[in-house]
Amino acid sequence: MAIALNARLSKEFWVSVALPLLVLALVVVGVLAYVHVSARNLTRSNIANDLEAIVRLKAGQIEQWQAERGDDANLIITRQFSTDLQQWLAGGRRSRQMEQRLRAQLEFFGASHYFALSLRSPVDGRILLTTNSHPDLPDLPPIRAQAVACVKSGMPAFGDLHVRKIAGGMMTTTGLFTPVRDAAGVQILAVLHLILDPEELLFPLLQTWPGVSASAETQLLRREGDEVVFLNKLRHHSAAPLQLRLPLATPQFIAARVIQNGNGFYEGNDYRGMPSLAYGMAVAGTHWYLIAKIDTAEVAARLNAVMTYSAILLAIMLLASAWWLIERRRKEQALLAALAESEDLYQNAACGYHSLDRECVFVRINDTELRMLGYDREELVGKKRIQDLHTPESLRRFKEHYPHFIASGQVRDLEFEFLRKDGSVLPVLISASMVRDSAGRYLMSHTTVYDISERKRAEQELAAYTERLHQLSTHLQTVREEERARVARELHDELGQLLTALKIDIVRLRGQAPADTAMTTQLAEMTALVDQTIASVRGIAADLRPIMLDELGLKSAVEWLSEDFAKRYAHISFKLACALDDCKVEGEQATAAYRIIQECLTNVVKHAQASKIHVAIGVRERRQLHISVQDNGRGLQQHGGQGGFGLLGMRERVSALGGSLDVSSMPGEGVVVDVVISLAQVDGGGAVR
């Protein structure tokens, strides 16, 4: 049965625990996948927004920077400066003084902000005047061309980035070309070239990145023929600015595609060939393109980290759910097992159980009690009241106890008798307690029912056996008493009479014999011997049973007994109160009374160390004989032998006559034996009420 139970439980386990867990796991995986995809998309769009914002911010900053440089140029080119320049040029650039003034003006404005300031010829772009006499100051052909282009457009223009070798390395420069017109504002006199070191502001601007990233960077680039040139110092490449180039016809590179396709979000490789996300746009007023990028791997790493944490969290939740499910299942099974066990215990308990509602109708009952009663459950539950099962006598007692049960909420060990279905009587022992609802109202009873028919039978057998023992004991006592009476009478009458006759003869012989002879003496001795023998016979007979009890009655016998006692035990003060009136106490009652008093006196002498004995005998309304024997001895505790056969014998005698015997002891006040014997047997002819 246990194995089957296990198998069933195991199958149940799969259905109720493993399957839900599996489904839950699948759902979790699905959710994770969905979250991963949507998170990736969200991340990409976020990243795209971020990159675009960064690019726009930086492009704006570059434009701002360029506009500031234009303002600088306008501050330098005052009317005075134009006039001075016109005069200097008109003088064939020979006036040293004028040259000094011009240079001073240039230096005043620009030396602190610019690498160098120079004035170039509007014709060929050559340097006319410069603030920096640095030997490496560039005067490269592209710069001259730009200066000339500026003159042609008549508008200020930013020069591109240029790189040249200088002592100790490479140097990148850029600059602003602004046409300087005459005072009238018609003729272009020269081109003012502000030479800037991009390392000072532009490159730091590009290289700063909001937030922390391991791969993000901003790239500035332009097109040179079929190539893309990276203009700034790159984060992941050792090449100097303008040194790294990529062919334009390589669409896998984001840089190439930005130049070809213009503003927008791109996904492709960066210059290292690393997959990247980027936003590219052209910087207004220049030939430059600005790209903000971040490695796809970094973005993925961030997402993966989030996803990993989520997965771990979900896994933990899943495990917790699994544990909870299994635990709940285990508890459920334990509960089920406990329920099954308690149900089994309830149904097959050694005693009967039932519950009754307010109307005493059966609410439930266990198999054991049903077996006891021989009913089916359907015959009792909801149909019969407990009163229907009681025998009439038992029902009377039930009605006595029921209010007590209602009042106290429980009853213990009450004996009742039920009627089985077949009509036979079932003696039961019942204990019940009340089950109340939360408001304390009677809900139902819980009753245990023990079948005590065996016990009852044993009790009856024991009672019968005890009764037989009593009868035997009484019989033995009667026989003994009769025997004693017979022997006493034989001794007293037969032997006594013979001795009397003998004595008469001896005394007659004495009268006939000569006086004062040896024979007379001998006859006198014989007379004394016969007297002694008669006394002895009389004593033996009296000890066996005083014939007086039969011939003169209890009062005389007790009087004689007390006199005899007083003679024998002179140290004990003996008082006898005998209120027997004219009522005759005879036969068994008289014998019992006499023997009891005799036994009490013996006990007192043996154990009590008393100095006083009071014996009272009285008859109540000619129906009850009351005997009381009191002493002033040590009390019962010290009377080792009081509880022995002497007392037992007294009890037997008294109970055989339907009387009662009480022994009480007050410490220091001696022992009192109270006996009440019913005399109704004599009057009523046997029946003891």
Partner: protein, 215 residues
């Protein structure tokens, strides 16, 4: 000549008694009986001066027999000759009308003396029996319930009927209250009374106490 009849169920005793009378002069044994019925018949028919009667004969108890004889022949002196030495027998015999009581072992020495005495209408009894008879004549009615009380009980009875409370009695007698109440219960039981009021009533009736309000 004193005419004597002997009633005894034992032949040897009758023979012995007869021998005593034979030895002495002036006595004539006029009849013998061995049971109660014969004795009664003898008493009715024969002319007898003294009946010598055994108390333990078959047929009827000795006391009853004496009563019967005295009822029929009130003037006939009955001298009881008994095997019983106990004085209770003597007292009972005298009380129902016997003129004398003699134990059989004294018969050899005392019988003639005793017969002489009772034949003259006098009693033949021992001094202790006489004393006992005197005592019984004087004794109050033995059946009075308070006679059943022991000394201690009577003491407490007196205190109760004098109106003392349980605790006062306990203090006076150096007993515990519990012991006093046990005594009281015993007194009530022995005297077959239900409460202290009945005890007081009884005490007044029997002159055993003066009620507290009169004292």
């Amino acid at each position: 000549m004193i005419r004597v009849a002997i009633a005894d169920d034992h032949l040897v005793v009758r023979q012995g008694v007869r021998k005593i009378f034979d030895d002495a002069a002036g006595y004539q044994v006029v009849g013998e009986a061995a049971n109660a019925e014969d004795t009664l018949q003898l008493v009715r028919e024969a002319k007898i001066d003294v009946l010598i009667l055994d108390m333990s004969m078959p047929g009827r108890s000795g006391i009853e027999l004496i009563k019967q004889i005295k009822a029929e022949k009130p003037k006939l002196p009955v001298l009881v000759l008994s095997m019983h030495g106990e004085e209770q027998y003597a007292v009972r015999a005298i009380k129902v009308g016997a003129a004398g009581y003699l134990t059989k072992e004294s018969a050899a020495e005392e019988l003639i003396n005793a017969v002489n005495k009772v034949s003259m209408g006098s009693f033949y009894i021992t001094p202790t029996v006489a004393e006992r008879l005197a005592l019984e004549l004087n004794a109050t009615h033995d059946a009075e319930p308070h006679k059943l009380l022991s000394d201690r009980e009577f003491e407490i009875f007196r205190m109760i009927v004098a109106g003392q409370k349980g605790c006062e009695i306990a203090a006076a007698l150096s007993l515990s209250s519990k012991t006093v109440s046990t005594y009281k219960a015993r007194i009530l039981q022995k005297m077959q009374m239900g409460n202290s009021a009945e005890l007081i009533h009884y005490a007044i009736e029997h002159g055993l106490s003066t009620p507290a309000y009169l004292a």
